[in-house]
Amino acid sequence: MEAPVIETKINWASKLIGAGLLVQLLALLAVHPLAFVLFLAVGCPLVAAGIVLYLLSLVSSSQA
């Protein structure tokens, strides 16, 4: 059976958040400028995109 759209969005949101937190985890393992940039330029946007997608899924489900 095909998953509802909201569950697909939640699935993608979790993937983005998981990837972002994994990057953040790796960035915490080293005290280095590259780790700082990795955290800010890759980790934060991925988590932010995941959270936004999750919030969008809530809005779209409440409109449906």
């Binding site: 998953a3 958040i17 937190l21 985890l25 934060c44």
Partner: protein, 208 residues
């Protein structure tokens, strides 16, 4: 928050987010919706905020600044066995916190000084990996060193306010405080890192 706790928190948050994502059907129930809200919004937001604070804190550490090879001589200059080296005398006598030695003197004590320092740091990273790395002795400040950074700590200190050298000229302190006479480039405290002369220097070894 200790780094180990933060790492654990980030790992658990990530794991929980992925589990909720792969079991998205649990969000059909009320409890599942609450779990998703916590796992996909509250915990990730907290993890990012805590991580951001940790990264900003680390970016102020001496280890962080000296992790680029080109900065190695600047790090060595902190242990020169010569009191005339201003950074060395500050570092060795704990006038600055040793674990934040670079940042303490090289941030500007203004509203956006920390942000400016970070932006400069990003530029340094660009030069390090994509540009032409200068020789250590060719590295210059973006602008002349401002007395404000010295006065941030020394203003009001007895050794500064009552030091005999500062009273040979009765107008000297007023000029220094107003920024009309530089502490460094006026020639009074002009031996700073001086990395070009390190090959002839002797170094202090801290007693264990």
């Amino acid at each position: 928050m200790p780094a180990s706790i933060l790492i654990l928190f980030v790992a658990v948050s990530g794991f929980l987010a992925v589990v909720v994502g792969f079991r998205a059907h649990v969000t059909r129930s009320r409890e599942g919706k609450i779990l998703a809200f916590v796992a996909l919004l509250i915990l990730p937001a907290m993890a990012v905020w805590a991580g951001f604070n940790e990264q900003m804190d680390r970016a102020q550490s001496t280890t962080f600044c000296l992790s680029c090879h080109v900065m190695a001589d600047y790090g060595r200059s902190l242990t020169v066995d010569d009191r005339s080296y201003i950074p060395a005398s500050h570092f060795q006598n704990n006038r600055i916190p040793r674990d934040r030695a670079c940042y303490t003197c090289h941030t500007t004590y203004t509203m956006f000084g920390g942000v400016t320092a970070k932006m400069h740091g990003v530029r340094h990273l660009y030069v390090q990996y994509l540009g032409t790395i200068p020789k250590p002795e060719d590295i210059k400040l973006y602008e002349p060193y401002n007395n404000r950074e010295c006065l941030h700590c020394h203003l009001g200190a007895r050794s500064f306010e009552e030091g005999s050298a500062h009273h040979k000229d009765p107008e000297l302190l007023a000029r220094v405080k107003a920024g009309r006479q530089s502490c460094i480039s006026s020639g009074c405290h002009d031996t700073v890192h001086d990395v070009a002369s390190l090959k002839d220097a002797t170094f202090w070894k801290e007693a264990q």
